[in-house]
Subunit: 283 residues, 4 copies
């Protein structure tokens, strides 16, 4: 029997990935109180620089998130996940062009909103990295983004029905997940968000919601922490797998007020479990 | 080829987890005969104290049950399982706040019906521990409880149709599993049974049945032993996965008398197999 | 990369498990030619006794078949598989009461048609062992039997529709698998074939077909070799998983003549692959 | 954490399995430029002979492709994959008669269009090897072929509906995958493409499309590289698993122009990931 690996020394790192529903990654580093954090959450006014060891831990967590998303059926060879830089809110961390399950800490790049690696290095990026840049630019509340390829999510996006919250794990879906149809926005394409124009159109449909489906492609899920974006995308996959079985049938989805009351979830128990699971797989 | 691990020395421990359809965990320790046990089953009149080694074995079995429930798709990061204390029927054993697959023997707490750890320790408990406290309080026949999060069970709970027994493994469902709608009981909530009022409302819908679904949340399964509650919850998952595929279609479910005749099952072969499977996974 | 393990020394043993569509297990030992075998197939007239090492190999293959059936989703903690004794057609080999995945060579018993262990030992048998005894008694052509618990097979059995062959792997189903409803045969029960009366009723519905479904319970698949019974039960599972998704919809099943032309299959490539898979799992 | 294994020394080999959407396996060896390659793609005019080490690497990749197809649910004990010989376009490489997951480099044979091993050896071939011979003969653009047995693909083939592209991963399906009904072509059979007549009939239905379904049997997927044929067959499986859940319902499939724009995909990220996955499984 292996022991739970969460030790006291991981507390700081975990503040990046999970904000307890209150703290924001970017300000935890500045040792703000929860109250201060809430007040500052849109501003990111000059937080203290992140110590190097914390950033290294965040890179490790982002690599782990890549593995979890593969292990949990959210991504296949495609799809990606990013996290906003805790010290510089105009930057974000994302892997170079690699299947998520292949990503290691060393593959994580720091990128600006124009999707240029800040180090100036010439690593190949995901052709759809613009999804991340434009959402971070438009939505200061968003700290992490997952681009999902879960098959059932794709089926929901072409079904003509709205993905609806079935239980408290997907309360964040509120009154339903909006649908982005790239054809209506920019005409005939290869379906990819491979430039800024397409990304801005996607952001417009996302608006102030936590997630958006993409017709004939997948979806995007945001969160106020890495663990939240990952957890939301896993439970979106589960919820969609259920809903595709009952298309055309009347279900009792969460009432809007129930969804709202259940929407504040960082999935902390899941994160530790999923993390151990992918670690065991590679052991 | 690994050998079957069930050895003679495990006989006593197994009496706790599986009562052969006749013995009750709380009285096995007092060395009652099956006949005496049946007569006393509601009373729990002063059984002899459980020897420490037996309690240690039961804690180990409860940790194993946590792993089995994860492995068998009954729980994810959420959901929980408890067992009534064999020597003190007013107490029960349950893990502290942890994803079921992460639970170890050391995480098992002894808790009273008010959901206070009897040792007085300050461990964080599941926010929904009240499910267990109130059911044990109201139902002396219940020796073990599983709170299931199986996705198909959740879908059945919002489908407008009743979960019905399809085969002899789910005969315990009788004429169908009742549905608890928290909104009708206590209004708009985050769907969680996070206090005594909600738990008592759930108990009212459960009534004298072995299980209850919870709309937009999951379900609760009880048993006269740990192995029975676990086995029932696994086969509820299987049964629900089948039934969600045929919503709106006419099936021939077990007749009430067939269900009754098939309801006495402790799933002993499954328990040993599931136990070895999770042990192999951790090896 | 592991090498394929099929070596020359396994040829003899494989004659028991797979008859290449022509040889019958019971007569291979007597070194009959295929033509003789066909002529004798109903008679089993005094074949030479099986050498002990061949019988040991057959016990090992039967244990392997138990593991394969679990691994392939045909059985869970329940269900069983047997093979007719190659030298004594009035006996068959079957595990004692154990979950299939727990069975080892040492658990295999030799049993007569009245379901008594021929050694006189008092091992606990499956309560439904009568399925095997009565089918072997009534059907000399049957050399191996699987009692399946595959969930989709159970759903087909209560759906009001007939399980039909979808592709060449299930050609043996011919014009459809008959359905046994225990209630019509013997009234209200716990659904189990736990005595000779029930078993004889089941045999009547099976008639001269290779398989039969059991309403609210599972099914039985027979074969002219162990590998054939196993292969047929695996592909029955696959076929049923497909068909339950299209209940009420019109599909183009195999025409009766196509099914007939495709029915002669011993699944030899599958057997070697499934065998290695379960061996790797235990390694 | 294991490191990504793609090293510089693998670049040459990878040119065989994946042509980057431009290069063709047969001409890469002749060091043609991409432009020359395009011009020559139908001709295969006297390419330089493949160095032995490259051919050995291609055999290894073909064995790996066999394992990937099993691991990804495209084949079971049946189904097969081949690749056109890079130096001799009138030959192709394919395993001898073995379940795909059992294939090793040493099992790969070089075969001509009449399906004779060119070495003259007497290895048993797949009874359906003619699928490969006749497609390579008729379609110089095809460099690799997968014969799929994915269950959902089989269900689509008997459903009366056309398999349609749901998202950019299956854009190659264009306006839908054609269906071959062997009965209409050659009458009642065992469903197998076990001779040249049946294979030529299949090729006629395939015409200039990248894939074809076979009623009551499976399907065939072609590609301009090994990685493309494998990737297409994996995503055909995913797409079919989704579509069988919505038979009879109106979905928004890719528009023909969208499918066309998305059809140029070699699935390079998937290939590396799938390859590591099967390597880890055997480790």
């Amino acid at each position: 029997m292996k022991q739970t690996r969460t030790a006291k020394t991981e507390t700081t790192r975990r503040a990046f990935i999970s904000n307890g529903g209150l703290l924001l990654a970017g300000t935890v580093l500045a040792s703000s109180t929860a109250a201060e954090t809430k007040a500052n959450s849109g501003a990111f006014a000059a937080p203290a620089p992140a110590p190097q060891q914390d950033l290294a831990a965040l890179r490790a967590d982002l690599a782990t998130a890549n593995h979890i998303l593969y292990d949990q059926g959210v991504v296949d060879g495609y799809g990606h996940v990013s996290v906003r830089h805790p010290a510089n809110p105009n930057h974000f961390l994302i892997s170079r062009w690699l299947a998520p399950d292949m990503v290691t800490d060393a593959d994580i790049l720091e990128v600006d909103f124009d999707c240029k690696p800040v180090s100036g290095e010439k690593a190949r990026l995901y052709s759809e990295v613009f999804i991340h840049g434009e959402i971070y630019r438009a939505r200061p509340d968003v700290k992490s983004i997952v681009h999902t390829h879960a098959p059932a999510v794709i089926l929901m996006g072409i079904s003509g029905e709205t993905l609806m919250p079935m239980y408290q794990m997907t309360g964040y879906m509120g009154t339903g997940v909006p649908l982005f149809d790239i054809r209506k926005a920019v005409g005939m394409t290869n379906m990819l968000i491979s430039d800024v124009v397409r990304a801005k159109a996607l952001v417009q449909t996302l608006a102030d919601k936590p997630a958006v489906l993409m017709r004939g492609h997948g979806g995007v899920v945001t969160g106020s922490s890495l663990a939240q974006a990952v957890g939301r995308s896993v439970y979106m996959r589960v919820n969609a797998e259920l809903q595709v079985q009952v298309l055309g049938k009347k279900m009792t989805y969460l009432a809007p007020e129930e969804a709202q009351l259940a929407s504040n979830n960082d999935y902390p128990k899941d994160w530790e479990m999923w993390k151990r699971k992918v670690a065991d797989r590679r052991a």
